[in-house]
């Protein structure tokens, strides 16, 4: 396999990537489903989603807020991948 494709695959399936993604999305999604289920763990997702809607609402006020789930999920995956890349780089350096 192409080494750079292999590296991307490793980052995407890294426990750091998936753990970060779950941490950003799952606690927030629970609170979205029912307010009582909001917890301190939901804070990162809450901040990202709220600030995202604030920017979106300033640019295009006509969208309903559920629309922002799509950019939120993509953005969270971007952040999670950055964390995963850092983690894989750190692991690689330790084992080198």
């Amino acid at each position: 396999m192409n080494p750079s494709v292999e590296a991307l695959r490793r980052i995407a399936t890294s426990p750091a990537t998936i753990g970060t993604y779950a941490l950003l999305v799952v606690p927030f999604a629970l609170g979205w489903f029912e307010t009582q289920l909001f917890s301190p763990l939901a804070l990162p997702g809450y901040l990202l989603f709220s600030i995202g809607t604030a920017i979106g609402n300033a640019l295009a006020p006509r969208f309903e807020f559920w629309i922002y789930w799509a950019p939120f999920l993509v953005g969270c995956f971007g952040i999670a991948s950055a964390v995963g890349a850092g983690y894989e780089w750190w692991c690689g350096r330790r084992s080198a």
Partner: protein
């Protein structure tokens, strides 16, 4: 590798469910329990009467007289017909038992709009029909205003909800308390914030002194009758129906408590 990944994801799910259950919105507020329990000075008497009888707008006004003398407060729900939390809570307030004074409640102020589940009724936005130095603009607004003048309330509370959050979302006004200059808006916002968890920082309440020259019902009541007037706004943004109702109920109980209709300390 796979197992570690699944464990990481599973840990987040379990962790957040436990944390969520452990940090429910506090509900045991003194003013709320005072609102629900009958006063020890005797039973309050309730009287229901139709406003605008015989018209499309006919709606019920509840007058609850406490056994002790005190101020008169008016609570409105359903000025905007699709803002359900205010309607639900105003119906509940109509069953509360104040310890002092007179509590007047109109749960479905714009009844046609409430029945259609729409913001506006037949004549547009009711909460823009109370201009300065003029009669209210429509039959409905005049009928509501007649009742307000008749009771000459010391306190007016109008219950609303917004789609977004004031200060975060342009043109939305959620999680805010608008109040007349002499009203205790800051105190109300602070009391409501006790029910907002620290990890929902954008949902903290803002108090905002209103300009009394506007055409809103609570502005006219403050301007022409000198009432301490409040317009309460919760938000639909990230709050479910239950949370909106709870915050609205707290707002109503705190206003009645602050202005002496409830005996939250259990003695006076």
């Amino acid at each position: 590798m796979r197992r570690r990944t699944i464990l990481a994801a599973g840990g987040v799910v379990v962790g957040s469910v436990t944390a969520g259950l452990a940090s429910r919105l506090p509900t045991a507020h003194r003013s709320l329990s005072a609102a629900r329990r009958p006063g020890d000075a005797g039973e309050a008497s309730t009287n229901a009467e139709p406003l605008l009888p015989g018209t499309d707008h006919e709606t019920t006004l509840y007058e609850i007289d406490a056994p002790r003398d005190g101020p008169t407060a008016m609570v409105f729900g359903g000025v905007h017909g699709d803002e359900r939390s205010g309607i639900v809570v105003a119906r509940q307030v109509a069953e509360w038992r104040p310890d002092a004074g007179t509590l007047v409640v109109v749960p479905e102020t714009n009844r046609v709009a409430v029945e259609n589940g729409e913001r506006e009724g037949v004549d547009g936005d009711l909460n823009r029909h109370f201009p300065a130095d003029r009669e209210p603009l429509t039959d409905l607004a005049r009928g509501i205003w007649d009742a307000v003048e008749r009771y000459d309330p010391d306190v007016v509370l109008d219950l609303h909800r917004s789609l977004g959050i004031r200060g975060l979302h342009r043109e939305f006004v959620g999680q805010a308390v608008y109040h007349s200059p002499d009203a205790r808006g800051e105190e109300l916002a602070a009391a409501l914030d006790d029910a907002v968890p620290w990890y929902l920082p954008f949902h903290r309440f803002a108090a905002s002194e209103t300009n009394l020259s506007g055409p809103l019902l609570f502005q006219k009541a403050a301007r022409e009758l000198g009432a301490s007037a409040y317009l309460f706004e919760t938000t639909e943004f990230l709050l479910d129906r239950e949370a909106r109702v709870e915050l609205t109920r707290l707002a109503a109980a705190h206003v009645l408590d602050m202005h002496g209709l409830l005996d939250a300390e259990g003695e006076r």
